[in-house]
């Protein structure tokens, strides 16, 4: 018996173009034909720094991009990269969104959650409802992108509705609009509320989760979430999986492997 095995050495690429989306968001473009389905991710290595997972925020036959929010050591370094700088990528990894053409769907993005959703949105029809929320106007990624109109909301009312994405989603549902599926990405607590709302209305849901990752291919266990392996079974999970996932919105593993509640997890992430 022969098991097919392919080399996953880093593909070394130079930044072809850089676009600052705002002071904290940068998009890095690379010229490379990467096979990819919306929702999948790649591991991005900055030699000498670290390696982290990122979803593609743009993708075509010839090039792709990642959009990075400057947060910790790695992403702050990443947004300072410029044309000609070298990064290594591995992947794509994971399972993307399950997309059925001709469905009527909603896409709900929380702040930066729009990055993984962007390539999905580009495959959807005009009939799609897009709800995009953030802390404030500056955190609304790609304000001019897509030819489907978005409904915006901010915590501080600096743009669109003042309030939460779930407010807007609830209103849409209440208005009688039927959704075959709701896709969401954003802070886990937000995704949890979107999921709960969908459950209440019997709407299938697909969420894109985030956990600390090492291998990216289902071996090291860093990213396990309940019985799921986020890097391999996900990062996109559907309603069936979420119902049984006891760590969803409750627990995550620190780098040490210690299981902690999500508040502690995110405060750890903030420090490094």
């Amino acid at each position: 018996m022969t098991i097919p095995m392919t080399d996953q050495k880093h593909i070394m690429l130079r930044v072809e173009e850089k676009k600052m989306e705002s002071r904290e968001f940068a998009t890095l473009f690379f010229q490379y034909a990467l096979p990819f389905a919306p929702g999948q991710f790649i591991m991005v290595w900055i030699p000498g720094i670290d390696e982290k997972p990122y979803t593609l925020s743009y993708h075509s036959d010839k090039r792709f991009a990642i959009t990075i929010e400057a947060k910790g050591i790695f992403s702050q370094k990443a947004v300072t990269l410029d044309k000609g700088d070298l990064v290594g990528i591995r992947g794509p990894f994971g399972k993307g969104f399950d997309i059925k053409p001709d469905e009527t769907v909603a896409v709900v993005a929380g702040g930066f959650g729009m990055a993984p959703l962007a390539t999905l949105v580009e495959t959807l029809n005009k009939n799609t409802t897009i709800i995009h929320g953030a802390k404030s106007k500056a955190f609304l990624l790609y304000p001019e992108r897509f030819n489907i109109q978005r409904q915006f909301c901010t915590d501080d009312g600096s743009f669109g509705h003042k309030g939460l994405v779930t407010d807007l989603l609830e209103k849409e549902i209440a208005s009688g609009k039927h959704f075959d599926c709701v896709y969401t990405c954003g802070p886990e607590i937000m995704m949890y509320h979107v999921f709960t709302l969908c459950e209440h209305h019997h709407i299938p849901c697909q969420v894109s989760l985030e956990r600390y990752m090492r291998c990216g291919f289902g071996v090291c266990g860093a990213c396990v979430c309940g019985k799921q392996v986020v890097c391999r079974d996900g990062p996109v999970f559907n309603t069936d999986a979420l119902r049984q996932m006891r760590d969803f919105n409750t627990r995550a593993l620190l780098k040490s492997g210690k299981a902690v509640d999500l508040t502690e997890y995110f405060s750890w992430r903030c420090k490094s």
């Binding site: 018996m1 390696e51 071996v219 266990g221 860093a222 396990v224 019985k227 593993l253 492997g257 299981a259």
Partner: protein, 303 residues
Amino acid sequence: MMTLQFLGKTLKNPTVLASGILGNSKDILERVYENGCGLVTMKSIGPAPRDGHKNPTVLDLGHGMINAVGLPSPGYLNMENEWKNLEQRDFPLIASVYGGSVREYQMVAEFVCSKKPDFIEINISCPNSEQHGMIFGINRQSSHDVVSAVKSVINVPLIVKLTPQAPDIADIAKACEGAGADVICAINTAGPGMVIDIESRMPVLAFKKGGLSGPMIKPIAVRCVFDIYKAVNIPIIGLGGITTGEDAIEIIMAGASLVGIGSAVRYRGIDVFQQVADEMDDWLSTHQLSLKEIKGAAHKEKK
């Protein structure tokens, strides 16, 4: 048909989840068990909280992988929830432990033993930390010392996991057996190796070096098990590159009683355990043989 007795425990088949593969929580260990694994091993537990190395830590080289995860561990005192979850388990469990000194191994193992795993494995063979593990496994005396120290404080069978970097692994195994080990587990990762990216001129792994696993190390694992089987009378868990039922049969013929699987989870998915067990079963029934009959069968001279 594959059900077997192993040191007083009933296992549904001879497959074992290797330490450091997935085993970070009860939920995932349970899933591995449900996917056909006979006996699961937790990620190695250390004396203190440890983050492990920065990424990149794990790379797939195509014919195997290289890793320097660096023994991340919550530390043995910080796993109460996990132990509580594991109390409820309905599957057999190996707890793997490591330390930086004989005293640490003993301390961690003693505590972990109170949490009632079915077996305790000591990892005296990890190449991915400057201070931990491997140094013990390449020396006869230090292997003996750590095994007898741990053995004296636990009341479940003790598995000792060895490194192929030992100049004579059979000799180390014998020392461990003499010190009271109940089982030998062979092998931990081989090498170590290094991969340099020529564009950035940097070793790719943040720790620079890493241990090799997967199909490319299978010949080393088979040789180690073969050598150990000749030297000791305690059972062996054979692992290193086992990916198919035929691989499993091969290492059993070298002398293994159980068969560990790690990297193959990458190549065949989490249900590799069921696949390998089924393939073994098929092979055995086609050949009208039992596990017992093939154990050590490559040793024409002995047993």
